[in-house]
Symmetry: C2
């Protein structure tokens, strides 16, 4: 006869009974197909009510620990009890977390200034949208995003980038990394992809996750080398023609036409044009996109609001040529959109009501001031005479070439020990290339300029100690 000690004052009696029996089943004390005592006997034996046992048996039944035979009673189900292995002794292993860096000044970070975000306008628009668009907010949008946001982006591209695209060609996604996975599904995992060397290092990580081959192709002063591309056997080339990261090169029209010509030579060739920070071009009219130069439906245009608004608002988009857009609808539109309606409608209003343009203009001015201020500080510091600035007055970073015999790695680790992080250009090369030595990337988008004179002195004393005297 089952006798248990119902001593837990906080737990309902039926739950205690349930747990006692369950534990006996799992431990093997109660064997498969063994009959449980009748509710009345069990209740009397343990000094609890029949309804308590009834509830416990019901729960065991609903969870499948016991089964019932009509007019006979309850029986123990066959339960395969798994004892924890020695390795899994019930004590959980701690999760191996990545190590954290201890940094005071991060010249490698392209994080934007948090206080530049238009919080009050964003809050106002969010509020308006929540009170005016209840139905729209709850309606599941197409896989490529709400019509409102796509049409807002389409107008923006028309006035800002001279691109004439229908909202139907636009696909919204939670970040460019996510959009890359859609592009891979659209164009095929088995194609050979190629990109710039040096270049955006996450790309190779993403492609390799999908076991897709990605070749890094050398650059010359005009961008990705057309010879390298012609000899590469690549089907797809991923480039940042308007402001290459990290070199800052703008691809001239001649190279653009060469690449379009390359793509035209086979049906399965495509160009991915990453226009990630074109909004912050400060010298002259922005260069027309490859997408708008293309007349053969070969270019996928991709852009993000990470730089122009905030990296913590996960909204990017791509523009597909019409033929690929049709394929997208056929093959991939079953995927739910990855951006919430709330933020899609807020961003659409932000663009349509002219706030986005104003914000970009304000930020362009801000970044150009940051850039000039930092150059001034560098020139007036003890670093003067030890560096050259390579700057095309665009985006959120420039390069400096340090006049040092120290290796890039030594510079990097010596500064890191002093909590200053700086990224060497050589880090962005996927192949070893000595010619890139001593170039470093300076991201100025979120630097506190008040601290920079002192930081420059620290760097000078660490890298050029003779000047200390």
């Amino acid at each position: 006869m089952l006798t248990y000690n119902f001593k837990d004052k906080k737990k309902p009696l039926y739950l205690q009974a349930y747990e006692f029996i369950k534990s006996d089943i799992l431990s093997g004390n109660l064997k498969s197909n063994e009959k449980l005592p009748s509710k009345r006997t069990f209740a009397e034996n343990n000094g609890v009510s029949i309804i308590t046992i009834q509830n416990a048996y019901d729960l065991l039944l609903s969870e499948g620990f016991v089964y019932s035979k009509p007019r006979s009673g309850y029986y123990v189900s066959k339960i395969q009890s798994l004892k924890p292995t020695e390795k899994h002794s019930g004590i959980k292993h701690p999760v191996d977390l990545p190590a954290k860096e201890d940094i005071d000044i991060d010249l490698s970070s392209n994080i934007i200034n948090p206080y530049s975000f238009p919080f009050s306008i964003w809050a106002k628009l969010s509020r308006q949208i929540i009170s005016n668009l209840e139905r729209e907010l709850m309606e599941v949008c197409p896989g490529n995003g709400t019509y409102e946001l796509r049409s807002a982006i389409s107008s923006h591209l028309s006035s800002f980038r001279g691109m004439s695209v229908s909202p139907d060609q636009i696909v919204i996604g939670a970040g460019t990394e996510y959009l890359y996975s859609l592009i891979l599904q659209l164009l095929g995992f088995d194609k050979l992809y190629s990109t710039e060397n040096p270049g955006y290092d996450k790309l190779s990580k993403i492609y390799s996750q999908y076991h897709t081959k990605c070749k890094y192709l050398d650059m010359d002063d005009n961008g990705i080398s057309i010879n390298a591309l012609n000899h590469s056997k690549a089907s797809v080339v991923h480039i940042c023609p308007n402001h290459h990261f990290p070199t800052g090169i703008t691809m001239p029209a001649s190279r653009r036409y060469e690449i379009l010509e390359w793509a035209s030579r086979s049906n399965d060739r495509f160009i991915i044009e990453d226009d990630y920070d074109s909004e912050f071009r400060t010298n002259g009219k922005p260069i027309p996109t490859l997408f708008s130069m293309d007349q053969r439906e070969k270019v996928i245009y991709i852009n993000t609001f990470s730089k122009s608004l905030s990296p913590t608002i996960r909204i990017s988009y791509m523009v597909l040529p019409c033929s690929l857009a049709s394929q997208y609808y056929k093959k991939l539109s079953f995927y739910s959109c990855t951006v919430s309606n709330f933020e899609q409608y807020t961003l659409a209003a932000f663009i349509k009501q002219g706030y986005f343009e104003k914000h970009i203009n304000r930020m362009r001015l801000y970044y150009s001031k940051q850039r000039e201020e930092l150059k001034e500080i560098l020139i007036n510091s003890s670093l003067q005479g030890h560096f050259n600035i390579i700057d095309n007055e665009s985006g959120l970073h420039f390069l400096i070439k340090l006049d040092t015999s120290l290796s890039d790695k030594t510079v990097y680790t010596r500064l890191l020990k002093n909590k200053i992080k700086i990224a060497p250009l050589s880090q962005y090369f996927q192949t070893e290339d000595k010619s890139s030595d001593h170039y470093f990337i300076i991201n100025y988008s979120n630097l506190d300029m008040k601290k920079m004179p002192e930081v420059c002195e620290t760097i000078a004393s660490l890298l050029f100690p003779s000047h200390e005297d």
Copy 2:
């Protein structure tokens, strides 16, 4: 000598000059390496200022249409001009858009009632977060999400599902579909995946996009068949043990232990437990999750806020066993999180301040009322006598079995012609299975019950016309 007609009153003169020359370069009127006239001559000849021509030449230079030789002048670059092919005659093909359905009553939609969303609380929390957390909102969060949301979910799982998990084991993502892609990358694309037949039909689409094999395994009354699983050679099984979609079956403990035992037999076997609507269980205590029964780090638990809050807020999460969590950090944490900080912090506050629990309780009551009301309407309609309801009082749908000799397809198309959409269970079978005929899924989460008596009469007259007399 170049002579152009500067007649556009709206466009700056330098832009007009730029466009004239560019167009002559692209058309071949100006040949590669041809020298452009000097700025002075050009300006005088066209009656514009030298500064106008200077600006036009600068722009052409910066875009690479011309190059300059010191003390000589400007020359035309070599541009590969691509004439549009016949197929791409400059006229864009329209995008093939998917056809839209014309439906009045959708019994197949599991969209939740838009007005049930807690708009005012959500708006209040969003406002508070925007004004109090400026810095946090702009700080890029770890790939698996903000600590705040992960710890809120961890507490929720502890009190609501009896699961003891560290926030480090939780990965936030923009929808379960996105999380599946991470799981595929974590466990491998080359493994054989398996899931329930009938089952969630998007799964096979997603897996096939990645060229990953997915086998549908038969079910019995206890869920996925353990025999089928044992004979399948699958490494991973994807199941909804707590409320199977669409049959509504709850997997009993015996089968759960069998599946855990199956997984324990090889190092590369894993179980994906999809707990998508467990919040709406109305009969009794929710069944413990497979994740919490597992002692060998074999179960990945996955859940979403699509059902419990709104499908238009794209937030889902998965809980990894510690060993897989460590692998996640090593292999996949380079990916940026796909959910915006704004919504992560809002949802974290919504959970931590107890609003989520209240909302679920309210919705559970609402859905159970909807369910009972619809059953009542069905029973009192002319359909009475023609159907049986199969309902386990959980989730947002039940099944009806129609007493008809019409094929499922006939029922489906006949109703669709009358703008009523209903999904047959057989549609969710990946293999042909006649035993599933005449079962239909009734989603009641967003039905307007006032319309339902008439809808039932329409269905009765369409499917059982003899009762019209």
